[in-house]
Symmetry: C2
DNA sequence: TCTGGGGCTTCCCATGGTGGGAAGGTCAAG
DNA sequence: CTTGACCTTCCCACCATGGGAAGCCCCAGA
């Protein structure tokens, strides 16, 4: 398989495959006499694994851990779950952050006339900072 | 005010102040004879504005729009609200994405023994792809 | 066997914000 | 005038991805 075929078979772009090899997420691929990278089914499988892990938002660093666990048949499922739950916590924290922003913005937008007049609590808030009730408590 | 004082007064690092100037978010600061940037209260005010907008997750591009509206006393509040609601939509979309990941991961983690045994549905899912009920539908 | 063109190679650049650090100049207090 | 804190610019890094250029490889078709 060429890198293009591996890309098509895995959903990971050729660019990214080379990048993953460069940063050591993947072992260096075998090469043809002419220098072309060659991939097998096993490689394509690993690439699909990576692709799915990325779709679930795992950073490359965690994916490396997951790949190592995957390849280690003596792994403990507890170790895998630890990686997963840690990632869940990270995602949840991010969600909470974003929800806080949304809450504040909704509050501000709700109090903005949204017409031709220039006065606007959104700008007032950005300019003068937190003054009233519902504020950036989520931030601390 | 030196850049360090402006940074302390606004919560924006000196590095970032220079960066914002470089990308045109801020006008070039006045300079002393020796080349030091000089800031006034007005500048500090704008920096605090930027800081708060960033805390609300606005990308620099949107902040530029907000700053322009802020400085334009003939603005329509509707324009401000449009920027805000657009950003809210972006944030919400991101939240939905993250929630989808969390949902999938929770489902997988719940079915993982989490003990010393090696078999693990989390790895199975990453390796073999979506098979059962609760899947990455959120993704499409 | 030659040729064409599509795919491959490496290398550099950009994104978006942020930080770190080096080399050198400035400023204000003493 | 010295000293040391602060400023200047410039480069590098992160994370993950894409774009593009210059040049080489490979195979199908003539």
């Amino acid at each position: 398989m060429t890198i293009g075929e591996a890309a098509a078979a895995s959903g990971v772009s050729a660019k990214m495959i080379r990048y993953y090899e460069e940063i050591g997420l993947l072992p260096a691929a075998a090469r043809t006499a002419g220098g072309y990278r060659v991939y097998g089914e096993r490689d394509a499988h690993a690439l699909r694994f990576i692709r799915r892990a990325r779709d679930l938002g795992f950073p490359v660093e965690r994916i490396a851990e997951l790949l190592a666990l995957w390849r280690d048949r003596t792994r403990a499922s507890a170790d895998v779950r630890k990686v997963a739950t840690g990632h869940i916590a990270t995602l949840r924290a991010r969600i909470v952050e974003l929800q806080g922003m949304v809450r504040t913005l909704e509050h501000l937008a709700a109090h903005c006339h949204g017409d031709a007049r220039p006065d606007c609590p959104i700008l007032d808030d950005l300019a003068e900072g937190p003054r009233d009730t519902v504020r950036r408590d989520h931030h601390g």
